[in-house]
């Protein structure tokens, strides 16, 4: 008899990807059952705690969701390797953000993960995203609203003006330009 846990362990990668694309409620539990331990071990081996591993896992799953949902998503390695790679980049970027530079990176001893991309560029990109995320969090409320409406919900300037209460779309555009400049300045200061 196949138990629920066995079923979750044995489910095929293609099926998982299909379910992520469909935003199936149960796929996240399946991913946790299948991959959590592997991802936790990497974080703990690289100066992290079990709490860090848990936080990093959730960040990894959010990034996975976004990537897989993109229409141009193509898997170029095994799904397990792909998940491990996101988790790895995410944690190394977090260590970098905390200015905790590892002397040596301890990858999991697993031959199936032999083809991971260990280049600095992938970690650098993740690091940049973390910095942008942190700086957006501390922008004013209106800037955060404009950014969400424009970049996530893809609203027009006219719609943004209506939603936030600016008199016209030119004002909304000016306000957005100010927010972007402010964000850029904060990022430049943060990098110094």
């Amino acid at each position: 008899m196949t138990t629920a846990i066995q079923y979750k362990k044995d489910i095929k990668d293609e099926e998982i990807i299909r379910r992520i694309k469909q935003n199936d409620n149960h796929v996240w539990e399946i991913l946790q059952v299948k991959y959590y331990k592997m991802l936790e071990i990497f974080v703990i081996k690289n100066s992290g705690s079990t709490d860090d591993a848990w936080d990093n896992f959730q960040e990894t799953m959010a990034a996975l969701f976004v990537n897989v949902s993109k229409t141009n998503f193509r898997l170029t390695c095994a799904f397990k390797t792909y998940v491990y790679q996101i988790n790895r980049n995410m944690w190394l970027a977090e260590l970098k953000r905390q200015k905790r530079r590892p002397i040596r990176i301890y990858d999991n001893e697993d031959n199936e993960l032999a083809d991971i991309d260990t280049s600095d560029e992938v970690v650098e990109k993740e690091h940049r995203i973390k910095l942008v995320e942190r700086e957006i969090e501390i922008l004013g409320e209106n800037c955060r609203k404009i950014i969400r409406l424009y970049y996530y919900l893809k609203k027009s300037m006219k719609e943004i003006a209506l939603e936030i209460g600016y008199s016209n779309d030119a004002n909304a555009k000016n306000q957005k330009a100010k927010c972007m400049k402010q964000l850029k300045t904060k990022l430049d200061h943060g990098r110094i």
Binding site: I5, K8, K9, N25, W28, E29, Q32, V33, K34, Y35, Y36, K37, M38, I41, I44, K45, S47, G48, S49, T50, W54, F57, Q58, E59, M61, A62, A63, F65, V66, R100, I103, R104, Y106, N108, E109, D110, N111, E112, R128, I129, V132, E133, I136, I147, R148, Y151, Y152, M157, K173, N174, K176, A177, M180, K181, L183, K184, L187, D188, R191
Partner: protein, 226 residues
């Protein structure tokens, strides 16, 4: 780092608010003015990062309730398919016969560890590996096996260090019985880790000399409490 002096112009171009003549002039400038083109590329990169951040934030919000930390997860047998560790049992037993009885006993402990990965996560290696036996043990093990033991000892040490740090954050004076217990446990694991590392660096040419204090970025204020 570009200053974003032309941000209004970039926005108008990307939104499609420029007149045909201004659009042509903009595109020509992109080709001919390197500073302008660098600034534009940096602006586009920032926009892409923002798109990624906002999408992930929404995803995090949506997924927040989908995970349960106490769910039963699959065991992950790290190292199961690694070189010598994957040698058939019969070959291993021939090798073992060649060793002394003492070394065999130690190896049993080591192999239990090697195949540990997650099932015995609550049993740190320091609890079943005598520190004095490590140099002798190292003589009979391959570098791969030593690496596995080292990695395990590293996990144990990190956990002990984190547990102690958390306890000291709760109770900064650190004189209670729990702090003392955690400190002893951390020290024991640190000694084992150092000893394994020493044995590994003496035996394996590719091993990197490793300073525990520097490597883990210990908070020295914690050590001052002793």
């Amino acid at each position: 780092m570009e200053e974003f002096n032309n941000i209004g112009l970039f926005q108008d171009y990307l939104i499609g608010d420029l007149s045909p003549a201004d659009k042509t002039a903009f595109e020509l400038r992109l080709k001919e003015d390197k500073e302008f083109s660098d600034e534009f590329n940096e602006f586009r990169l920032l926009e892409q990062d923002i798109e990624e951040v906002t999408a992930r934030n929404e995803a995090k919000f949506e997924l927040k309730t989908k995970f349960n930390r106490h769910i039963v997860v699959d065991d992950y047998n790290e190292g199961d398919d690694q070189g010598e560790l994957a040698t058939p049992a019969s070959t291993r037993s021939i090798q073992i016969r060649r060793w002394s009885i003492a070394a065999s006993v130690l190896l049993i402990a080591v192999f239990s560890f090697v195949f540990w990965p997650t099932k015995n996560i609550d049993k740190p290696i320091a609890e079943f590996l005598d520190i004095d036996s490590i140099p002798h043990l190292a003589k009979n093990l391959s570098c791969n096996e030593l690496d596995s033991i080292y990695n395990r000892a590293l996990i144990d040490y990190n956990k002990a260090e984190n547990d102690l740090t958390k306890q000291l954050q709760k109770n900064p004076k650190g004189f209670g019985p729990l702090s003392r217990k955690l400190r002893i446990s951390r020290d024991q694991k640190q000694k084992v880790l150092k000893e394994i590392n020493l044995a590994r660096s003496q035996k394996c040419s590719d091993a990197i000399p490793f300073d525990v204090e520097e490597g883990f970025e210990l908070d020295t204020s914690i050590l001052d409490i002793y």
